[in-house]
């Protein structure tokens, strides 16, 4: 027998899983949200997504060719980044916005660090921050309400007297979160009025619309339900794990419930935290961005701390900071802390004697 037998280290069997399968399953999990986005905002959303994905993949291939390293674009990670970039813009954005965002995300967010596995920041979030900083008006203005939501706003506003002259303007061109923020910040309207608008906004109807997708926003955030279907799939396949999303969303819930009301501590109804969770990209962020494996902690305890940190920062930004949003910046900030979190959360081995 002249055969040469393979002699590798154990184990000799291997689960059928690879980077490619993980990433393409993430792509699959993002598909329901993309379909809903197309349904509400039109075919334009699909085109923007295609531009973003093409730019991501092309940039990655080009840089890898330039760096003379193997070209790994079929691993699907650049596709994920592209989709997430498109998910963060409005359907009315010009074609070059997602293209530039994707190029930045891949070049500066990923390849500069050495490619997949070495990047510190979630590339898509870095791309979004870049677009926000460079074209703030394109990123925030011009997005559309879906019709029922628009009617809801109109009716709640029309029913009010004594509104400051600039208020309807704020409302009609803003996300629900902006309105809530305006209500907290404005001194121009009476608290009665503010409370009524708040109640309207956090009413069951609005929450339902937010959940199913009957509300305006960027392409990927329109339907919490569609995102959750994808997230459930990933959790089932053990590609994302519960700790980060649960601690993230849980923290937001608690902090908003305690501090989120417009009349001081504990003045919020239980609807307000739900409203916060369902709007403004928190679901997308908690399940698809904060859970990015490369840029989140490896340890179990670390993931809990990471999620809580993201939640706390999100609430701080939404309630105190200058933006009504806050999800992406909080995740980016927590990305920086990941090495530190990992270092201090190395678990005690099974059987460690407690002291």
């Amino acid at each position: 027998m002249n055969d040469v037998f393979a002699v590798s280290a154990a184990p000799h069997i291997k689960q059928k899983i690879s980077i490619n399968s993980v990433m393409w399953q993430v792509v699959l999990a993002l598909t329901p949200a993309l379909l809903i986005g197309i349904f509400f905002f039109g075919i334009q959303s699909l085109f923007l997504t295609i531009y973003a994905v093409a730019a991501s993949v092309f940039t990655e291939a080009l840089i890898q060719k330039f760096r003379k390293v193997p070209i790994t674009v079929n691993d699907g990670s650049a596709v994920v980044t592209g989709i997430l970039i498109a998910f963060n813009i409005n359907s009315s954005a010009p074609w070059w916005l997602p293209v530039l965002g994707s190029i930045f995300a891949i070049a500066i967010g990923k390849q500069i660090f050495g490619g997949l596995g070495f990047n510190i920041f979630n590339p898509a979030l870095l791309g979004r921050a870049f677009m926000m900083a460079s074209w703030p008006t394109l990123m925030t203005a011009g997005w559309k309400f879906t019709t029922p939501m628009n009617n809801l706003f109109q009716s709640s506003i029309n029913g009010l007297n004594n509104l400051p002259s600039n208020f309807p303007e704020v409302v009609t061109s803003a996300t629900p979160l902006r309105v809530v923020k305006a209500l907290r910040d404005t001194t121009q309207i009476s608290s009665d009025v503010a409370n009524t608008v708040m109640d309207n906004l956090t009413g069951m109807n609005t929450l339902q619309d937010l959940f199913w997708g009957n509300v305006g926003g960027v392409i990927g955030e329109v339907s919490a339900a569609a995102l959750l279907i994808g997230a459930a799939y990933l959790a089932w396949k053990h590609i994302i794990e519960w700790r980060i999303p649960v601690s993230y969303i849980g923290t937001v819930f608690v902090l908003i419930y305690v501090f989120g009301g417009i009349n001081g501590m504990f003045s919020a109804s239980i609807m307000l935290p739900i409203f916060h969770i369902l709007s403004g990209g928190l679901i997308l962020g908690a399940f698809f961005m904060a859970t990015d494996m490369v840029t989140s902690p490896v340890t179990k305890k670390g993931r809990l701390i990471f999620g809580m940190g993201c939640g706390a920062l999100t609430v701080v930004i939404r309630l105190i900071g200058g933006y009504p949003e806050g999800v992406s910046y909080s995740i980016l900030l927590m990305n920086i802390a990941v090495p530190l979190i990992d270092r201090y959360t190395v678990p005690k081995p099974f059987g460690q004697i407690k002291r």
Binding site: A10, P11, K14, S18, V22, H238, V298, T299, V346
Partner: protein, 439 residues
């Protein structure tokens, strides 16, 4: 059903179908055997025969090399033809004694003492030591040593490991079905030696008939119980089994089961103990599973220690396709060995043959930091960190990350999407850290 388990773990396909319903067959006498002098943990045995000596089956041919060691016995009758280095199931080369058989199967004189339970604990232990019994589940720790806790350490529970969580392997399953009484007799001997009040037989959920059989046999036993365990790998790892069966955690950093008043023995070892005590029969044969998709006729074979893997495979009518990999033991923790001209030892639980495709391993990629390995590690350590530290030659950090606590179950490497050879890195880490400790 009230099954118990441990935190972490994985669910590989158990692939036991190939051999699980095959009754144990006694292999015809091999023409030639090799008894390696190291089949156990501890000092190698010292040969007491020389080339040309005539020996019979069961005759001692090597003395124990110390207290933590065991004697070796010839498993057939014939003539000593060589004392040299031979292949070993761990892939190494090890000193061994070759015996060419005379085809007659002459034996030493055995006894049959049905009142063996009247023997003193000391006598019982002596018979076990004389028979060269060591753990037959894998590591091969000398059994009499496990039964000799230091002054002041009390053992209250003996756990018999009938988990057999490695995929493919069915040898323990078959002996549990076919030799249940012997196993329980062995357990009672073990309990008597250390004055343990409790006996536990741990069996995994994928062997319901074995669980049922033992439950039936133990109906009237107050002190011995069967514990059904969830189907999860590595349920049969010592610390994980102890935790599942008794809720006790063996301390890390070199803690032993006896630190939590437990001794674990494999079910096969229990049979060896029983035969050593009742018949004064040395450990010269065992049941081994020969399996794999390409094996023509997978079997559970009772074979003499020292039988070559090539003979075992031939008895199973060879393979249907070219062999890509030979695995000594189970697929999770076994050793890939370069040749079938390797003798089986007291710890050989299985011989697996993989085709070229099954032998194929993907290239190692970068760590995605996905945490899958962390989620399943039964020892609750961070395998990816250890790999990272070992790559950077950072032995201190590797030690702090718990490289010495790793039980090398292989679960982490099994789930890694980047195909990182975690066990290989951990192995290097273990070696380096222990070198540094002794320096």
């Amino acid at each position: 059903m009230g099954f118990k388990t441990f935190p972490g773990g994985i669910h590989p396909h158990d692939n036991k179908v190939f051999s699980k319903d095959k009754k144990i067959e006694v292999m015809p006498l091999p023409e030639k055997i090799v008894i390696p002098l190291s089949q156990h943990i501890g000092a190698p045995s010292k040969p007491i025969v020389k080339i040309g000596d005539e020996v019979v089956a069961g005759q001692k041919i090597a003395d124990a090399g110390g207290f933590v060691s065991i004697p070796m016995h010839s498993s057939i009758s014939g003539k000593v033809t060589k004392i040299a280095q031979f292949n070993h199931p761990t892939g190494a080369l090890v000193q061994g004694i070759e015996i060419t058989g005379d085809g007659e199967d002459k034996w030493i004189e055995l006894v049959d003492e049905s009142n063996f339970m009247d023997l003193s604990a000391k006598d019982l232990k002596e018979r076990i030591a004389d028979a060269g019994v060591c753990g037959m589940g894998g590591a091969g720790f000398p059994t009499h040593v496990k039964l000799s806790p230091p002054e002041g350490k009390k053992i209250d529970t003996i756990i018999l490991n009938g988990v057999e969580c490695e995929p493919y392997l069915t040898a323990d399953y078959r002996i549990m079905l076919e030799q249940a009484e012997d196993i329980l007799a062995g357990l009672k001997i073990l309990m008597k030696i250390v004055e343990a009040k409790h006996g536990v037989v741990g069996i995994e959920a994928n062997k319901p008939d074995a669980i049922k059989l033992f439950k039936k046999l133990l109906k009237n036993e107050k002190n011995i119980k069967v514990v059904g365990l969830h189907l999860k790998y590595p349920q049969g790892a010592e610390k994980q089994l102890i935790y599942a069966a008794t809720n006790r955690k063996v301390p890390n950093k070199g803690g032993l089961p006896m630190d939590v008043s437990v001794v674990v023995q494999n079910v096969g070892t229990a049979i060896a103990v029983y035969e050593a005590v009742r018949y004064k029969k040395p450990l010269v044969d065992r049941v081994i599973t020969i399996s794999g998709k390409i094996v023509k006729n997978p079997k559970n074979i009772k074979a003499r220690i020292g039988t070559f893997y090539s003979d075992l495979l031939e008895y199973c009518e060879g393979t249907t396709e070219d062999i890509g990999k030979i695995i000594s033991g189970g697929p999770m923790m076994g050793f890939a060995i370069p040749s079938l001209e390797t003798p089986m030892t007291k710890g050989s639980s299985g011989l697996l043959l993989f085709d070229k495709k099954e032998a194929h391993r993907e290239q190692e990629n970068v760590c995605l930091r996905c945490g899958r390995c962390v989620d399943i590690c039964p020892m609750n350590i961070v395998p990816s960190f250890i790999a990272h530290h070992v790559r950077n030659d950072d032995w201190d950090s590797a030690e702090k990350s718990g490289v010495m606590d790793c039980i090398k179950c292989g679960s982490c490497a099994y789930v890694c999407p980047s195909h990182i050879k975690l066990i290989q890195w951990i192995d290097i880490g273990k070696i380096k850290v222990s070198e540094n400790r002794t320096n």
